[in-house]
């Protein structure tokens, strides 16, 4: 039986922007994610996906509402939340002058992975992500694909039950992207809870068990693909998305 | 040469520079404000220190002052705030204990200095051996010691006059002759001397400073921002793009130098002038800070020369960098190299000989020094122009060679200028 791992209620974030004044980047977002599922946030650029995920990862403070990860509140227990969380995005870079092995060790230690098993865990990760050949090379020397593998290994090295992937495939070529998607699915199959954001329909369609369509900071719909299809009588996610975002249907 | 393209690019570089904070600060703000500010701080600090030292009340104890030297007390009063306690001469038996007591009080900061007169059999009536006790670890005590020393020395010379009088030596016979100094230099000339010592040094540093950011920003910075490729695709030859950038760097250096010279003259007038007047020991030669008109063309000319030279050299070095940070570390040694001779040249006795005029940068400092003092040495000026021009041409030649290499131009070359020279120029040099 899957349990609720992430619980978001009425989560809101207001920014102040010099040009636009007050901006409601995220307004009253509610959803839950269960273990062993990939929950997708689908939205255009600037829809509020990243802001929502950053609030769950405690990098941003919510203006209103709550979010809990394994029952830990993001405002009151940020450290506990982050400990149970792996956050991956295109903008979370790696230290160029560390080797892959050092990077993994660092993040295991900083994320408070038990000291005695850190070493084994790091080797396990190196093995699992196929990094053995270049585990001793500095990251600055690695290719984009290799860097990305190290990045994912970095995200899961402390064995967090919840993983957040914020537009992970941005800037990757097709093969690398597919590789990444496969990795995410494997993690799901191990029972991790995965929050995944994207603006690419096919990606959401293939990966996500449930999809939340987010637009202008609000969730317009949240269901499995079949549920969405049934609710909108559209087949393609693209059409479903347009349906919710623009409010009127375009011919399929 | 496609001058229209160069002009357009040059202007766009300049416009961008004026919107870039670091260029503005290093090229304009610092040259303009730094030295006036520094001088103001120095000025206030010196005034503060002198006022404070003057205001120290010296607590002084004088033991056994002979009747012949009562005049010492008046002299002490002239020295400033001083509180004298007089005590009788300690007897031979208690003298040692008395000194120990004084010593303790000096160290406990209850007393600033003490004079102990002990009569000696040598010499005329009233002669005494004087012990001047003070505490070198206290500022107040050192001030008190200075005051006592001056008063004592005056009293001593006064006493010698009195003794001479008693021996019938008076008037011209005792005074022998007076020594008088007659300084023919006017205040303006003195001011020019001081300015000549300082302005050229800061001038060079400021030009280097002014070139530094633009040189890095327009090469390595462009690469970092990925605008280099955009610029490279413009419909003009690469050499024109580089020429425009070079002109811009040289302009920034020149402007920084000129602004700095102006700011220096102003701050000399408003801070150093009053300071010297206040601290002046009354020899009457007030300093006046005016640049001779004939030095202005030299100043401008050298600003242009140095801007062009330092700018070119820096750009060559920075051309190998792919990030701003890298550029900085490649250029900094040159910056230091420019500053070192400037430190060595801080010597007024150095004459500006024609051989010295052949060394770039150094010659500019010496030439300017002479020019500020109102001297135009035409031979040296000529040599200076030639040597700097030659150096500029050399730099530009090197730059054109460097840029002809695809890898450097696109930024894929790994390494710096020296590694490049080792790799590329050796076979060429071998052939020649």
């Amino acid at each position: 039986m899957s349990t609720i791992q992430v619980e978001v209620q009425g989560l809101s974030k207001n920014f102040f922007d010099q040009a636009r004044g007050e901006v409601n980047a995220v307004s009253e977002v509610d959803f839950v994610c269960r273990s062993g599922e990939i929950f997708g946030l689908l939205g255009a650029n600037g829809a509020g996906k990243t802001t929502t995920l950053r609030m769950i990862s405690t990098v941003l403070q919510p203006s209103d509402g709550t979010a809990r990860v394994l029952g830990h509140d993001v405002v009151r227990e940020p450290v506990e939340v982050r400990r149970n969380l792996g956050f991956y995005s295109a903008s979370t870079a790696l230290y160029p002058r560390l080797t892959a092995r050092e990077t993994l060790t660092l993040f295991a230690r900083v994320n408070k992975y038990p000291a005695e098993s850190t070493k084994d865990r790091v080797e396990e990760m190196i093995e699992r992500f196929g990094l053995s050949e270049y585990a001793g090379a500095r990251i600055e020397k690695l290719s984009t694909g290799m860097k990305q593998k190290v990045s994912i290994a970095r995200t899961v090295v402390h064995d967090p039950p919840v993983l957040i992937f914020d537009e992970p495939t941005v800037g990757l070529d097709v093969l690398n992207a597919l590789d990444l998607q496969k990795g995410i699915q494997e993690l799901r199959d191990e029972g991790k809870t995965i929050l995944f954001s994207t603006h690419i329909m096919s990606e959401a369609e293939r990966l996500c068990d449930r999809i939340a369509i987010i637009d202008k900071g609000r969730i317009r719909a949240c269901d499995g693909l079949e549920g969405l299809r049934a609710a909108t009588s559209h087949h393609y996610l693209e059409d479903i998305f347009v349906h919710y975002v623009t409010g009127n249907d375009t011919p399929a | 040469m496609d001058w229209t393209a160069i002009r357009l690019l040059y202007l766009s570089e300049l416009r961008a520079a004026l919107r870039e904070r670091s260029v503005l600060i290093n090229g304009i703000l610092i040259p303009l404000l730094m030295y006036p500010l520094m001088m103001w701080v120095m000025f206030s600090a010196i005034l503060f220190v002198t006022a404070r030292t003057e205001s120290f009340a010296s607590r002084v104890e004088i033991a056994g002052l002979p009747a012949e030297h009562r005049g010492l007390l008046e002299r002490l009063e002239e020295e400033g705030r001083i509180e004298v306690t007089e005590v009788d001469v300690p007897s031979a038996r208690t003298a040692a204990a008395y000194r120990t007591g004084i010593e303790e009080r000096l160290l406990a900061d209850e007393l600033d200095a003490a004079l102990i007169f002990e009569a000696t059999p040598d010499g005329p009536q009233g002669n005494a051996a004087v012990a001047l006790m003070s505490n070198g670890s206290s500022d107040q005590s050192q001030t008190a010691r200075g005051r006592l020393e001056r008063a004592l020395s005056a009293e001593r010379s006064d006493w010698l006059d009195r003794i001479a009088g008693q021996h019938g030596l008076e008037g011209a016979e005792w005074r022998v002759f007076e020594v008088e100094s007659n300084n023919l230099a006017t205040g303006v000339e003195m001011g020019q001397f001081l300015m000549g010592m300082m302005i050229p040094l800061f001038f060079v540093i400021m030009i280097a400073n002014g070139c530094l950011y633009p040189a890095i920003d327009s090469t390595a910075g462009e690469r970092e921002r990925n605008t280099w490729e955009t610029t490279s695709t413009l419909a003009t030859r690469r050499i024109h793009i580089v020429a425009a950038k070079y002109l811009y760097v040289a302009t920034m250096g020149t402007v920084a130098g000129a602004l700095n010279a102006a700011a220096m003259v102003v701050s000399f007038r408003s801070f150093l002038g009053p300071l010297l007047a206040r601290l002046g020991n009354g020899d009457g030669s007030g300093f006046a800070f005016e640049l001779p008109l004939r030095s202005l063309p030299v100043l401008l000319l050298t600003a242009v020369l140095l801007g062009a030279l330092i700018g070119a050299a820096m750009m060559i070095l920075a051309a190998f960098a792919r990030t701003f940070k890298e550029g900085q570390s490649m250029v900094t040694p040159l910056y230091l190299l420019v500053i070192f001779p400037v430190v060595v040249l801080n010597d007024p006795s150095l004459e500006f000989t024609p051989p010295l005029a052949a060394i770039p940068v150094v010659n500019v400092v010496l030439l300017l020094r002479q020019a500020i003092a109102g001297n135009l040495l035409w031979l040296q000026l000529g040599i200076t122009l030639l040597s700097n021009a030659a150096a500029i041409v050399g730099c530009l030649w090197l730059a054109s060679r460097v840029l002809r290499v695809e890898e450097v131009a696109t930024g894929s070359f790994e390494g710096n200028l020296f590694q490049f020279l080792r790799q590329r120029l050796k076979p060429v040099g071998g052939k020649a």
Binding site: H158 | N135, N182
Partner: protein, 672 residues
């Protein structure tokens, strides 16, 4: 805080640094070469100049009509000794010179030129001597040396010749005195023996103490800034900071780790640099400053190390703050220059003569430790004040560290725009964030002004200027942030009972202030001169009405507007009542700069803040303040401050009760 996390982060930082050869060259190698080389070159230049001046031949000329027959003889004697005196002294007493050895500097006589100024100008002649005849009765002939001070050779030649002539004159006098029958050697008249009571260490300690802090600050900053730029700004630019922020590391752990990295690198580079310079000095390649003895006893060294520790943390936190505030590496670099200059200016304060730790300086972070170090090196150990200085700097370091934790709050980091609600709205909403900065600047201004204006200035003028600075600043803030006047300054009628409260409170407050002074004087005794100086400053010689006007009425109005008006208004929005009362009150105390006045004025400040908060009006506070000052002044005038008859404990208890009663009377009627 988890030491394991911190150590992992520090290791990470240091490992990356060690793998950055370019950074290492700049942070470590370059200064190691630069400093000694600069020093060496400077001393080389000085030496070479000295040599050049001594080895050249100076051209002199003598006017042709010698008015004094002896002139030629005297000149010969002077030329025989020219240069013997080197550059020491003007009195011409120089026992070491060997008359047989000939002159130390070469002087060559040339024919007197027709056009003297031109000859001097183009270097055909360096100095011209003319014997002026006796002009007055009993006068002596004069040797007039004509030269150009702005030409190096001419100025030097004149100096040599002038000193040689002076010592010739002394010699001639002594001979004439002996010939007239004076038996003693004039050198034996009033011989002075200089006795130095301070030990060599203490004397050298004064010298070292003046510059030590500045050197340490400079080294810490140059070494530390290279890591610091990379620490937050660099990580931001590379995107690794966001990675770090999504880990389970606490913000405080990250900041601590960064601070430790900066500190360790700064420490290592400082040690390397100092050892390097000392080494070159030992090898005699670069000259050590005269009178500097570089031996510090182990105990003193450890004490100094302990003393400088908070200063080091303060500096590294400041660097980190700058780095955290900047969005890019370049921006951080640009911001370091002002930090560096500011820190150096503060660290240079021990250079100023006669500044004792037992003064207002104890409240200035870093400077207080510098002055403390100077005192320790000269053998003075003022323990309570050492502790105070240490605490002040440590407190400032903690505040800065907290501020740098706040820069990690990701809003700014990620929205990439510094502006938030208040910045955007500007005006009143922004003011609470800026008020502390404003008052900090104001305080610095007043501090500088007070330090510079000690003594010699009319007390009336002093206080008027102080108050106008405060008034002008208050006005500026109100205008700049468009603050609503009535609310800002609490311009409301108070409850009537409040006036009665003021009448009770003012004398009681004065008694309590006296108690605080006595308490404080247990830790730092008030010097007698200070009390006298105070009496002078408050215009003890003025007519009573003037005194009351300048020192009671004016402060009552202007200080209240600035502190209980603008400052309180600004702080109110961000603080809870208890910290608000304490901070606003103590800030007021600190504006009285003088160390001994801070405790009682802080207490008064606290009372006045309470008065404003309870009545909702500034008027009772103004009245109280004016009345307080008036009572204090007339009390002082009547019996030179009531120190003759000290209040006893029940006076204080009574006063406390009276104050509490007064505060009750001041309570605002409940709004229904």
């Amino acid at each position: 805080m988890n030491p394991r996390t911190v150590s992992a982060l520090v290791t990470n930082d240091l490992r990356q640094l060690a793998r950055n050869p370019r950074l290492l060259v700049f942070a470590v190698a370059l200064p190691l070469v630069m400093w000694p080389l600069m020093w060496y070159l400077t001393s080389l230049t000085t030496e070479r100049r000295q040599e050049r001046l001594e080895s050249r031949t100076y051209l002199y000329a003598v006017a042709e009509n010698p008015a004094s027959a002896d002139g030629a003889t005297w000149l010969d004697r002077a030329l025989a000794r020219v240069g013997d005196d080197g550059r020491n002294g003007d009195d011409g007493r120089n026992g070491d010179a060997d008359p047989e050895a000939g002159p130390a500097v070469l002087f060559e006589r040339v024919a007197p030129p027709d056009d003297l100024p031109a000859a001097l100008d183009d270097g055909r002649l360096h100095v011209h001597l003319a014997w002026e005849p006796v002009t007055e009765d009993g006068g002596a002939p004069r040797a007039v040396l004509t030269y150009r001070a702005d030409l190096d050779a001419s100025g030097t030649a004149e100096g040599y010749l002038r000193r040689a002539l002076r010592s010739t004159r002394v010699e001639v006098r002594e001979q004439r005195l002996a010939a007239a029958g004076f038996e003693a050697d004039p050198a034996d008249l009033l011989p002075v023996e200089r006795i130095e009571t301070a030990s060599e260490e203490q004397t050298s300690g004064l010298l070292l103490g003046r510059i030590l802090t500045a050197i340490i600050v400079l080294m810490m900053l140059t070494g530390g800034s290279i890591v610091a730029t990379d620490a937050l700004a660099g990580e931001k630019e590379r995107g690794t900071l966001e990675t770090l922020l999504t880990t389970a590391a606490r913000r405080i752990e990250i900041v601590t780790a960064k601070n430790l990295s900066i500190l360790s690198v700064a420490l290592i580079t400082s040690i390397l640099n100092i050892a390097n310079i000392v080494l070159w000095m030992q090898l005699d390649v670069i000259p050590a400053p005269e009178g500097l003895k570089l031996v510090i006893p182990v105990g003193t060294g450890l004490l100094l190390l302990f003393l400088y520790a908070p200063a080091a943390v303060l500096l590294s936190s400041a660097l980190l703050l700058v780095s955290g505030r900047s969005k890019t590496y370049k921006e951080a670099q640009l911001l370091f220059a002002p930090v560096m200059l500011g820190a150096l200016a503060i660290a240079a304060i021990p250079v100023l003569p006669g500044i004792a730790l037992r003064s207002a300086i104890v409240v200035v972070p870093i400077a207080n430790l510098g002055v403390a170090a100077r005192e320790i090196l000269t053998g003075t150990y003022d323990w309570p004040l050492l502790a105070a200085a240490w605490t002040v700097t440590a407190g400032a370091a903690a505040l800065l560290a907290r501020a740098s934790v706040r820069t990690l709050s990701a809003e700014k980091l990620i929205t990439a725009s510094d502006t938030d609600a208040a910045d955007l709205a500007g005006g009143p909403a922004l003011f609470p964030r800026r008020v502390a900065g404003w008052f900090a600047v104001l305080w610095a201004l007043l501090l500088v002004w007070q330090l510079n204006s000690g003594g010699g200035i009319d007390g009336r003028l002093l206080i008027t200027i102080n108050l106008s600075i405060l008034g002008a600043a208050a006005w500026l803030m109100i205008a700049r942030y468009r603050l609503p006047l009535r609310e800002t300054l609490s311009l409301k009628p108070p409850p009537a009972a409040a006036w009665l409260g003021v009448l009770i409170a003012a004398p009681a407050g004065l008694v309590l202030a006296n108690g605080v002074v006595r308490l404080a004087s247990l830790a730092m005794p008030i010097p007698e001169e200070w009390l006298e100086a105070m009496a002078d400053a408050f215009g003890a010689d003025l007519p009573l009405w003037q005194m009351l006007f300048f020192f009671a009425v004016l402060p009552g109005i202007f200080e209240e507007i600035a502190f209980r008006g603008v400052l309180l208004h600004g702080l109110r929005a961000r603080l809870n009542p208890v910290p608000l009362v304490l901070i606003a009150g103590i800030a007021f105390g600190f504006f009285h700069v003088d160390l001994f006045r801070i405790p009682p004025t802080s207490l008064l400040g606290v009372f006045l803040v309470i008065a404003v908060l309870r009545t909702g009006s500034i008027y009772p506070a103004m009245a109280w303040h004016a009345l307080h000052n008036a009572l204090a002044l007339s009390g002082a005038r009547i019996e030179q401050i009531g120190l003759t008859e000290e209040p006893t404990w029940w006076h204080y208890a009574l006063a406390l009760a009276a104050i509490l009663l007064a505060f009750r009377l001041m309570s605002r009627p409940k709004v229904s």
